[in-house]
Symmetry: C2
Subunit: 336 residues, 2 copies
């Protein structure tokens, strides 16, 4: 292992000078020295020791990414297929800035805090946590934190999410315009993101001229088994009761598409179906899924950008950013 000291000796200068060159403090070093050292650094294949760096207090260059681990269940990991892309994009963005990503799946915020403290991370990106847990994390840690997809009562927390309400609204407007009057919004909860999407649904209906609109929010079980049981009971009658089913995620929508096909309900002829997210599956299923598009990579980029604004001491970092969503029209919705 080549140390700064080794380079210094070879160059006939002091370790301080080498350190200065490494950190680009070029005002303190003569041009010739800089060049000489830089060549040596390369030739001798110098690789910094993160341990020493961390200890010496130069910053750890570690960003922690905390992913909420839904208590021992794995179905979630499968459902949220974009967590994959998100994590990848986060790492790309973090590494681009010469930082490193320490990824941890944590069941409790407390453990997450300990994790962050142990590594003395310079910043934290958290995802999948509820409001309460996110606040707990924010308040018990003093490093910059950016959360993804959380809704706070006040707007003092740094967060990047989607314009979920608008997503709910534009899809519902579209459904209304295409003649749907009995619309069910289907999600597995009524908090955070899904609550906002549902509010968007409501707003669109309230603003609509034709008041003979029926909407309902159906909450389905999150756990797959229970959900299947639920569908076995209620899916049969659904096409008589509703014109359109608007699911809070493509995952649920695609699943429903299959189950509807099983019981002979034709989509979109008998019933329209819409999703949210625009994942790969929305393009691959049949009929193709009309859905609300979100740009996951943009989300990651934005979150990292924001985190670094914090880290670099930017004063006026916006708190909650809601990235835009767009409508993607495909085959699962038809004019009535």
């Amino acid at each position: 292992m080549i140390r700064i000291k080794d380079i210094a000796e070879k160059a006939g200068v002091s370790p301080t000078t080498v350190s200065n060159v490494i950190h680009g403090n070029r005002k303190k070093v003569s041009k010739e020295t800089v060049e000489k050292i830089e060549k040596l650094l390369k030739d001798m294949d110098y690789i910094p020791s993160m341990g020493a760096r961390m200890l010496a207090g130069g910053g750890t260059r570690v960003i922690g990414v905390l992913v909420a681990e839904p208590d021992g269940e794995k179905h979630h990991a499968e459902g949220h297929s974009f967590a994959n892309i998100l994590i990848r994009s986060l790492e790309l963005e973090i590494y681009r800035r010469n930082y490193y990503m320490l990824l941890h799946f944590t069941a409790t915020p407390e453990e997450g805090i300990q994790f962050a403290a142990t590594w003395n991370v310079e910043g934290l990106i958290i995802l999948g946590f509820g409001t309460a847990d996110s606040i707990r994390l924010q308040s018990s840690s003093h490093v910059p934190i950016v959360s993804i997809d959380v809704y706070y009562d006040d707007e003092r927390m740094a967060n990047v999410g989607l314009d979920d309400r608008n997503g709910g609204r534009i899809m519902t407007e579209y459904l209304l315009e295409t003649g749907h009057r009995r619309i069910a919004f289907v999600s597995d909860n009524d908090i955070g993101v899904d609550h906002e999407r549902w509010r968007g649904v409501c707003e669109a209906c309230e603003a609509y001229s034709d008041k003979k609109v029926h909407i309902r929010h159906i909450i389905i079980p999150e756990e797959r088994r229970s959900r299947t049981e639920y569908y076995e009971k209620y899916l049969e009658g659904v096409s008589g009761e509703y014109d359109a089913l608007f699911f809070a995620s493509d995952y649920y929508a695609v699943e429903a598409l299959a189950l509807l096909a099983d019981i002979g309900v034709r989509v979109p002829e008998d019933l329209s179906v819409a999703g949210f997210d625009d994942t790969e599956s929305a393009r691959i299923c049949r009929p193709t899924l009309t859905t609300v598009h979100q740009d996951v990579e943009e989300k990651a980029e934005h979150a990292v950008k924001k985190l670094f604004e914090f880290i670099e001491g930017e004063r006026k970092v916006s708190m909650t950013d809601r990235l835009p969503v767009t409508l993607v029209l495909r085959g699962s919705v038809k004019n009535r």
Copy 2:
């Protein structure tokens, strides 16, 4: 921040003793002292400094996970939906052993090596790399490395993968038994994993009594656009030419299912379709997909277990492990 020194002072002992308690060297410390220190550690909320630990040479407790970044393309990330679960399972296993996972998506092996050296990782798990890159990584780094899903010419590298050949074989045997005689194996390459699966296909056919069997290996473009174009040209005639299409991944199989539906080819009536992996999508598509099941979590567990056998100096670590696969019969294949 609470240091070992602080705890030591409070307890009236030396830092060494505290360190010993922390590391469970209980033979060197009296029982009362252990208890006293442990209480203090908890009460004062001691959190170790990884930087200091790394520097002092007690091991970094960092495992690097290197994921090959297919040159700038993102379709891959979407396709391999199990990378998600794999990474999560890896972290869980690593953390269970009180280690930390540093995740990095790298375009070149060289960068990966630098990454590993910078952090002085105690071990490396690599995935998505080809044979050549994997060997390059193995030979230029002196930490234990376990690769996932790589095929080496010799068996000197530590690797965990699937019994891919058997997977290809059992599916093909099943197809033959159910009366299929013209079978195409479809993948986007003919190396590594896919090559093995294809060999399995061949072996099954060679061993089959009825020799009037036609098999072919079709290579489709990896890039989605080109693949779509390819399908537009050739998919039309496929049901006349083959009885069954056996795809090297569920992802491709499900995609084909949709495209076949588009052009009016009925699966399984006109043509049987099979996949490999048994991902979530195989259950959700219609018809449901007959496929070869692999256990991704087991793969992760196994890889980490193996890596730690190396780290702990185990001499007789097996080199290549091939985890079992099983047949999953669903609706996309029918008796002919």
